[in-house]
Amino acid sequence: MSASVASARSGRSWLSALARWETLLIGAIAGLIVLGALLSPFFLTPGNFANLIAALMEVAIMALPMTLIIVAGEIDLSVESMAGLASSLLGFLWAAGVPLGVAIPVVLLVGALGGLLNGLLVARGGLPSLVVTLGTLALFRGLALIVLGPRGISNFPPAFTELGFGHVPGTLIPWPFVIFLGLAAILGIVLHRTWIGRQIYAIGKNTGAARFSGVRVVRVRTGLFVLSGLVAALAGIILTSRLSSARADAGAGMTLTVVTVVLLGGVNIFGGSGTIPGVALAVIAVAVMQNALRLASVTVEVQSIALGLLLILSVVIPNFAHRAKSAIDRVRGARPPPADSVRHGETASW
């Protein structure tokens, strides 16, 4: 219920629409699993399900704060570079003999600071987040290269690499997946059960009204960017651990996938609607699809084509659903709910 209220689609109609969207995703996952099983005899092996998620973990983790940011009507393109900066900084510190117990907190702090930079420029400076984070996308990557240069730092202690590569003892569940679930649970509760989440939706739906209602818009937005930076740094650490190597180019190109996954999760690019469960399902759907296609030795080209089409469809389908619905409403004589994406689709850029 609260998920539905907080889910902030407009009311029952949208609640049902949302339900439809998430059931749609579940259906898609089921379909993909069947497909995978048909495509490859190895798909349904237990080991494979461990692999299936592993490849996408960093993306999945970064997608969670991205969900909150987009719901609040902003976007953060800089996450992949922050992950890279985290990786290369960690490597740099480790190579310089700093114990990981110190290095990791430092890296996380840097992540938070980077997020703060984004947050201040966007929330306080009132600059468009698309451009700001485009700038920091380049800035953070540049810093990563400056810090570590061409080197790749590897000799990390096994205990550390276990974090990214190992499994929960006695199971095939990779640790990063556990981290993902934990984070998803926390942010899910924050977004759907607490008044902070309520305020995030309010900002995303009607910043003016939120501000006039005493919501500390600047503070919330800034906070979200800090969170995003922090989690991106965490993802960078996990990536470093999983590949047992720190490099300046770590995570390059991940932002596209992150945003894609979030939008596939049914989050409205213009803010105001979307749920963590939806995004989590989208993560799984994408992971399954990629894995199935790989096992069927379908080349990566086809995968990127498929992903692109999926992304577009994820907007087209609800749009048409909405138009159909508001048509019905008009007949019924009720006031059609504000047609977010439909309206913006023509006018706004993002």
């Binding site: 420029l121 400076g125 009132g126 600059l127 468009p128 698309l130 451009v131 700001v132 485009l134 700038g135 920091t136 996308l137 380049a138 800035l139 953070f140 990557r141 540049g142 810093l143 290269l145 400056i146 240069g149 300046a248 596209l256 945003v259 894609t260 939008l263 690019i269 213009f270 080349t299 990566v300 080209e301 086809v302 995968q303 990127s304 084509i305 992903l307 692109g308 089409l309 999926l310 992304l311 577009i312 994820s314 907007v315 087209v316 749009n319 994406s341 439909v342 913006h344 689709g345 023509e346 006018t347 706004a348 850029s349 993002w350």
Partner: protein
């Protein structure tokens, strides 16, 4: 509003607002000024900066980006964005190159084909945005990976080497007329024609109108969707041109050609002073933005800064540019706060 007096004259606040607005609209000049100053400083430490060969090299590379940036600007002015330009460039580049290599078409034919392909890809974006009502950022994010995927699919691991291209095909990248590199001429022509269209044709003004106030545009009966569609189509066409220039510039073409260029293109547009929320900005600005970034890159390498610094500086330039816009705009509004527009 001053009631005294027979006629209502412009308020001082308004004139000051205008003055600032004028400054704000002089992005082109400020960019040129900065480049002159920096150029001087760089020349002190690296004399070879101020050589014809170097400057023309910078200009040629910038012209390539500028061509794409002009297209991007058209779309951004309408309050949209096209993230798929780089994919369009790459796809056109590979298709044209491979057609030439296989002698499937003669040079003019292949070029015409490339332009046509760019046009069609642009139309696809246009349809997805205006017919299927997909927000531009999402739509072009999608087509980015679709187009790129098709590019990989077609190219596979094949690479069209310089040798595969008809002799003299790539000369355009080096030759110059009256001392001006052909690439620069092409970019200039595009900017001039484009600017003329924006300034003097109905379509051009509608472009700004749609970006400036979509609701008002609708009430005026301006065909917003058609305008946006056309903008995307032209953007695709120009990306196609850029793709062909890309072949001439780099000679060797494979599936990865032009990856990562979208950052440079959008950066050029932003640095060029085109408002990311649409309605304002000039094509000359976008082109100069491209030149500015290329200029910075070249200068950095020449003063001996490792290429690792490049990205960081790029980022800073973008942040500075967008902050400057905001500050000036705020000044204007503050100056005219006497009558807040609600």
């Amino acid at each position: 509003m001053a009631d005294s007096g027979v006629v209502v004259g412009p308020m001082p606040a308004r004139t000051r607002g205008q003055w600032l607005a004028v400054v704000a609209r002089q992005r082109e000049l400020s960019l040129l000024a900065i480049m002159l100053v920096l150029g001087g400083l760089v020349t002190l430490t690296a004399p070879q900066f101020l050589t014809v060969s170097n400057l023309s090299q910078v200009a040629v590379l910038a012209a390539l980006i500028a061509t794409a940036a002009v297209g991007e600007a058209l779309v951004v002015i309408t309050r949209n964005v096209d993230l798929s330009v780089e994919a369009t460039m790459g796809l056109v580049a590979y298709c044209v190159a491979s057609l030439l290599e296989r002698h499937a078409l003669d040079t003019p034919g292949a070029i015409a084909f490339g332009l046509g392909l760019g046009l069609v890809l642009g139309m696809i974006n246009g349809v997805v945005v205006t017919v299927f009502r997909v927000p531009a950022i999402v739509a072009t994010l999608g087509t980015l990976s679709v187009f790129r995927g098709v590019d990989y699919l077609i190219a596979g691991s094949h690479q069209v080497p310089l040798a595969g291209l008809p002799p003299g095909f790539t000369d355009a990248a080096r030759d110059s007329v009256l001392g001006i590199p052909i690439f620069v001429l092409i970019a200039m022509i595009i900017v001039v024609i484009g600017s003329a269209i924006l300034r003097w044709t109905r379509f051009g003004r509608q472009l700004y109108a749609v970006g400036s106030n979509p609701e008002a545009a609708a009430i005026l009966g301006i065909p917003s969707r058609l305008v946006v569609f056309t903008a995307f189509t032209l953007c695709g066409l120009l990306a196609g041109v850029a793709g062909i220039l890309y072949i001439m510039e780099f000679g060797t073409i494979n599936g990865t050609s032009a990856t990562g260029l979208v950052l440079a293109v959008v950066a050029a547009v932003v640095v060029g002073g085109v408002n990311i929320f649409g309605g304002s900005g000039t094509l000359a600005g976008a082109a100069l933005g491209a030149l500015f970034l290329g200029f910075i890159a070249n200068a950095l390498i020449l003063v001996g800064l490792s290429q690792f610094w490049l990205q960081a500086i790029y980022g800073l330039v973008i942040l500075i540019a967008v902050s400057a816009d905001a500050i000036i705009l705020r000044r204007i509004q503050r100056a005219t706060a006497a009558r807040r527009v609600r």
